[in-house]
């Protein structure tokens, strides 16, 4: 087994965390639909919400999708609120119209929103009723909440996957199987599948690409989280008897190696076999990272809270690219899942959980890091103040996990710095 990686897993001393409550500049969980509907190809996501929900989805996804999307919003209207219309009857009609138009759909999610939750619309009950009616037609109906009052950005995926867990078939007593939880780009998922096959580890993925391919779960299931925001999914899997393996997240050469090593250890893979399988892709990742390291080394970086990927990414940038994290803000800091990456962060990093955006921007202005990772609403205003930014959402939408994306991941952080250099003559200070 890989000794350095295992040693690094030892939990460090607890670090001070700045906890803030104020204005949060983050997406709600509905945003996850943008990538989830691409991942589960025969699923449809029906948000039961307001015009605001529809507008959010369109603003977050609109420019990227030209085909008819597999998501829509059932917009609650005045007459629904006034009790003039039976909301459940209305919902049934909307669903009937939708499924008539899209006979290819096999799984329908009713997705709760802020308004549906405030008016206490029971979507779980509605889903159960619709599910009973639709099952003979081969369509399943499930519900989860992507509302902003309940979920922050990537927590929407967590809620969606957690809703799938009770539907997973019971695993027989056929020994251990690995379950990789968290949606990944297909290309990355295929790379991991090859690595696990080469290691001799039987592995499944959640979510599956098709609704009918839900993997089995049971006491023999060992779960490796591919994303750091899946606390509810992990808990649901544990309720089904599965065991979650704590690991750093698979970013970069060392992160991916450590993540795979945790699985290898759980499945009793020999050190020699592990080395034989990972040596080549790890070397490729290291070569790819070496190209970006000169530009990133010593550069100071701050993360504003967004996706919960902040801690693992800061670990990657500090440990593998030589960057200096100044502030790492995250919407939620889960010691249990973020612990292995936290332990590998350098001393002196300011950790912040939650957000008060105005105060956080004050700190960014005082720190003046070389790179600020932030949401789309803040990026251009910060650029106009002379700071260099990286859109955080790209880190969620792009394939960045695993050995063969390590270079791409580093490049995402290098690109804004390279661009600033290339366009130096256009900067306002250059004109004076």
């Amino acid at each position: 087994m890989n000794a350095p990686a295992v040693a690094a897993l030892a939990a460090g001393a607890p670090r001070p965390v700045l906890r803030e409550r104020g204005q949060r500049e983050v997406f709600c969980g509905l945003t996850g639909i943008v990538w989830l509907h691409r991942k589960i190809q025969d699923a449809f996501f029906l948000v039961v919400g307001s015009r605001t929900c529809a507008h959010l989805l369109q603003s977050a996804a609109g420019v990227m999708i030209f085909a008819e999307p597999r998501f829509a919003t059932a917009i609650i209207e005045e007459k629904d609120l006034a009790g003039l219309a039976d909301v459940h009857e209305e919902l049934d009609q909307v669903v009937a119209r939708l499924l008539a138009r899209r006979p290819d759909i096999r799984l329908l999610f009713l997705v709760g929103s802020c308004p549906s939750e405030v008016i206490k619309l029971d979507l779980a009950k509605a889903a159960a009723r619709l599910d009973a009616g639709m099952r003979p037609r081969g369509v399943r109906v499930l519900a989860y909440s992507g509302s902003g009052i309940e979920t922050t950005f990537t927590e929407g995926e967590d809620a969606c996957l957690a809703a799938l867990v009770p539907e997973m078939p019971q695993a027989g007593n056929l020994g251990q199987r690995l379950l990789v939880a968290g949606s990944l780009a297909d290309v990355v998922e295929d790379q991991f599948a090859r690595l696990f096959a080469d290691l001799g580890i039987p592995a499944d993925v959640l979510p599956p690409r098709r609704a009918g391919q839900l993997p089995p779960v049971g006491p023999g299931t060992r779960v490796l989280l591919a994303q750091p925001f899946l606390g509810a999914t992990a808990a649901a899997l544990e309720r089904r008897g599965a065991t979650v393996l704590p690991a750093p997240f698979p970013f970069g050469a060392r992160g991916t190696e450590a993540w795979l090593a945790v699985a290898a250890r759980a499945f009793g893979v020999s050190f020699d076999r592990f080395e034989a399988v990972v040596a080549a892709p790890r070397a490729r990742a290291e070569r790819a990272l070496a190209r970006h390291r000169p530009l990133l080394e010593g550069r100071r970086i701050s993360f504003l809270p967004d996706s919960q990927l902040e801690v693992p990414l800061a670990r990657f940038l500090a440990e593998e690219c030589g960057m200096v994290p100044v502030e790492v803000g995250t919407p939620y800091l889960h010691q249990r899942y973020h612990g292995p990456d936290l332990a590998r962060l350098p001393e002196g990093v300011r950790l912040a959980e939650g957000q008060d955006v105005e105060r956080q921007l004050d700190r960014v202005r005082a720190d003046r890091p070389d790179l600020v990772v932030c949401g789309l609403g803040l990026a251009n205003p910060l650029e106009a103040e002379g700071l260099t930014t990286k859109w955080s959402i790209e880190l969620v939408f792009s394939p960045v996990h695993g050995f063969d994306q390590a270079g791409d991941l580093a490049e995402l952080f290098a690109r804004p710095l390279v661009r600033r250099q290339k366009l130096a003559a256009l900067a306002p200070e250059a004109a004076t």
Binding site: Q23, S50, A54, S59, A85, C114
Partner: protein, 521 residues
């Protein structure tokens, strides 16, 4: 409950944000849950604004609902005032906060802030973005205008007017304001206040000093203009100067009200559209069948340009904002066509599929539809997209706006000369049909069409071919393939209609040419 995949308009509080963001010294405190802050990126990304919108969000979460969300709102308002020191504040609720009924306006009134605080009541479950913008602008004008201020005597000064309606995230508002300001200058008229775009609280107070109000964007400024008419007893110019002819009308109307001679301004116009359109190269534009859809003001104006300034045939006209349905229906009647008033893009798609126009003039939504049905398209109206904020000067109002419109409406079409070449070479083996016109990247479109998921059309979307009982014989189908792709849809539709009307069940080559002679103009 209404099913929506795409929407033309955002919620009303986004309209309020467009007004607040357009102005200077105004700050908007919105009671809203976490996640609603996505709206900030519309301004910073689509319009590339270099400042955050002047909006503070309470971003409450589930745990706050059990506690005191009203207190949360008051703290946010107090902090926003202390940090940003605005000259006036707007307070309101988004859809979710509307349901919890904390009454932001009432809470703000108890706090005694030293600036005007204007409450906004924007019902999210029945109204939309444009209405929200109009209501916000009206509320600001009503609260801030100084009713004692009147125009000074006209002697010794040029007349001055207010330009009302431009906002942040408006379709070409930035350049329209510049163009209309220049146009008025050639007429000897000064612009007193532009609002909301760039206006301060002091500017709004001084609105009464103008000689005339110009309602540039009725969707946003109509209700404020009515209020000013009543308050100051002066008329509003409501002709929207989109297109060459409408711009001439506008100049004459402004001149008439102010007692000026319009002739010099009309003579000084750098108007290329009239000659570009009359030149023989443009002959091929004659009778092109166009479908127009957008906000009512832009759709109506563009339909006039299409028919009277380019010689197109307007076969469809519609808008997504019901508030202006009456105006749109009147315009459609004038064109002798069925109006389409809907905010359901599937209905728009069905209408386009049924009408088979040669050109679609619409919003970004119609651009997507046109891509799917492989029709050329130009964007003429909001909702906006990053492409609608070009780096170059690109108004749609005034004489330069008409020049821009000529290019915008003509460039998506196959050029006249290219059309002749297509006819000449259509039998050439290398000139494959499937290649399509290069500017549409149709080879990609064909692949996309193949990769598209199976979609069962709605009953209304069913094409004429599907519900008629006419079939094409193989010979006729082959002959149809010889017709250039850009008129083939029309030929197919006409032939089928011709056959159906005569009870012909099998279309032969003869039927095809009979239909051609029947429909020939």
């Amino acid at each position: 409950m209404k099913l929506a995949a795409w929407t033309y308009e955002g919620p009303p509080h986004v309209g309020a944000m467009r007004v607040a963001t357009a102005m200077r010294g105004v700050h908007y405190v919105l009671h809203a849950p976490q996640g609603d802050t996505y709206a900030d990126l519309l301004f910073t990304m689509i319009e590339r604004r270099d400042h955050r919108p002047p909006v503070t969000w309470t971003t409450f979460q589930a745990r706050d609902l059990g506690a005191d969300t009203a207190e949360l709102f008051k703290a946010a308002l107090r902090d926003a005032h202390a940090r940003f020191r605005p000259e006036a504040m707007l307070v309101g609720a988004s859809c979710t906060a509307e349901l919890i009924q904390d009454d932001p306006g009432g809470l703000a009134a108890t706090m005694g802030l030293p600036v005007p605080v204007i409450p906004l009541e924007l019902p999210s479950y029945s109204r939309k973005e444009n209405w929200g913008a109009a209501e916000t602008f009206l509320a600001l004008v009503r609260a801030l205008v100084d009713r004692s201020r009147r125009p000074s005597p006209r002697e010794g000064r040029r007349p001055r007017v207010n330009l009302l309606g431009p906002t942040a995230l408006g379709f070409r508002h930035r350049d329209d304001v510049t163009e209309v300001t220049r146009l008025l200058d050639t007429l000897g008229v000064d612009v007193h206040v532009v609002a909301p775009l760039g206006a301060t609280v002091a500017d709004i107070a001084a609105l009464g000093e103008a000689d005339l109000d110009i309602c540039l964007y009725p969707e946003i400024a109509d209700s404020a203009c009515r209020f000013l008419e009543k308050s100051f007893g002066r008329p509003t110019i409501r002709t929207v100067p989109i297109g060459h002819l409408a711009t001439c009308d506008f100049v004459r109307e402004v001149a008439g009200h102010l007692g000026l001679d319009p002739a010099p301004a009309l003579a000084a116009a750098h108007a290329r559209l009239p000659w570009w359109s009359r030149s023989v190269d443009s002959t091929y534009l004659t009778g092109k069948r166009v479908f127009v859809f957008g906000d009512a003001t832009h759709a109506i104006a563009i339909a006039r340009v299409a028919r009277d300034e380019l010689g197109f045939e307007v076969v469809g006209l519609g808008c997504y904002n019901r508030e202006f349905a009456r105006e749109l229906r009147a315009a459609a009647a004038e064109h002798g066509i069925e109006p389409l008033v809907t905010d359901d893009y599937l209905e728009v798609e069905a209408r386009i599929a049924a009408l088979q126009p040669e050109l679609v003039l619409g919003t970004q939504m119609e651009r997507m539809i046109a891509k799917r049905v492989r029709l050329p398209c130009a964007v003429i109206s909001a909702p906006v997209h990053v492409q609608d904020f070009p780096a170059r000067y690109s108004p749609v109002m005034g004489f330069e706006g008409a020049n821009v419109l000529f290019d915008t409406l003509v460039h998506p079409l196959v050029m006249g000369l290219e059309e002749h070449l297509l006819t000449m070479f259509r039998e050439d083996f290398e000139f494959s049909d499937e290649a399509g016109p290069s500017h549409l990247a149709a080879s990609h479109a064909a692949q996309h069409a193949a990769a598209q998921p199976q979609i069962r059309p709605e009953p209304v979307a069913a094409q004429a071919a599907a519900d008629g009982l006419v079939a094409w014989t193989p010979d006729a189908e082959r002959e149809l393939r010889k017709i250039p792709f850009f008129v083939r849809g029309k030929a197919r539709r006409n032939t089928e209609a011709y056959a159906a009307a005569r009870g012909i069940s099998a279309i032969t080559v003869e039927t095809l040419y009979d239909a051609k002679s029947h429909f020939s103009r």
